[in-house]
Symmetry: C2
Subunit: 201 residues, 2 copies
């Protein structure tokens, strides 16, 4: 079993994944939302797209067996396994500095948008834009009449998703620093998550 | 009453809207989906964002009284009136050449993504990216378990939405050329729609 890489609470981490390699993302302590992006390593203008995936999958809740597609409608990331309960969000923008300002935070607050930029910068890369993320483990139920609400994640400690790269990828995870709205559990305390890459390219 | 501008079936049209001006978009013959974008005229890198609006509105079905926000979480476009039944889509990507290729179309097919580019080009402008559109009048119900389906629009002939610009805008409409999936009615025949701009800046 390969070593686990830590995505520190409130921070982001990027990883290179060759086509057909697999990645296991573990919700180590439970209920931690992980904003997730995937970019074509050869051309970062192609990336995982929630709005294109909705049309491809005919669903807004991807889980085991589902393949997310890119903004060019090509397969990009497949859910091979999901022990988290299958509740992930594909509707809500990544949090950013402005989001926390509007929630009343004064001064700096980490955000998933900043984490995306910082994690890619560690590899000498920059995002072409801030794509709508696949918010892994995030619980945003859609009610009658189209209402949405921000609810605590249902992902248990140690639950995980296993993903397969459908092309050479740069994947970015952000352990969401949201500590005001209780998406990361009622204690509003972001926590580390971990991942491992395995399988031959 | 000002003159009506035509958005020809299968094509796009851009319009300049000063802050606080209003626009009435009429579904002239009924059931026609109109992909809609709004860009900050002073900086087109700011544009209407469905994923940011979901978080701001706490709903996926905007209608009378709701203000869409930009990717910088600022008010951008408000629904002042909606006589169409209030069913608009904020989940599905604009159709593009690849979408029609995957639906079995050989050769050229108009698309909303191409219409966005062409309509802006008429004004000497180019989109910074293809944002997820506000698909006006598009009927994409979300079922139990998060399923989505492509259903005929419920917007009646002559029904309309009235929108107010919350900043100086370039707005783009595309009378969606979809003629395979029955979103534009069971006859799968895209039709003209019309709009008028009114009110002082």
């Amino acid at each position: 079993m390969p070593d686990l890489t830590t995505v520190p609470a409130r921070k982001g981490k990027a990883a290179i994944l060759a086509s057909s390699q697999k990645l296991r993302l573990v919700n180590t302590y439970g209920q931690q939302v992980v904003d997730t992006w995937a970019f074509n390593r050869a051309d970062m203008a192609e990336f995982m797209s929630t709005e294109h995936s909705h049309a491809a999958l005919l669903k807004i809740l991807p889980t085991t067996g589902d393949t997310m597609v890119s903004n060019r409608r090509r397969p990009i990331l497949t859910f091979l396994e999901d022990t988290s309960g299958g509740i992930h969000d594909t509707l809500i923008a990544a949090c950013d500095a402005r989001r926390y300002e509007m929630l009343g935070v004064a001064g700096h607050h980490d955000s998933c948008a900043d984490n995306l930029r910082a994690a890619l910068a560690e590899l000498g890369l920059a995002p072409p834009e801030i794509p709508a993320p696949l918010n892994m483990f995030m619980n945003i139920p859609v009610g009658a009449g189209g209402s949405v609400s921000f609810e605590p994640s249902i992902a248990g400690p140690g639950s995980h998703v296993t993903l397969r790269a459908e092309m050479d990828l740069v994947v970015v995870f952000s352990a969401c620093p949201q500590d005001i709205v209780p998406i990361n559990g009622a204690d509003c305390t972001p926590k580390d998550v971990h991942f491992e890459i395995f399988g031959s390219p």
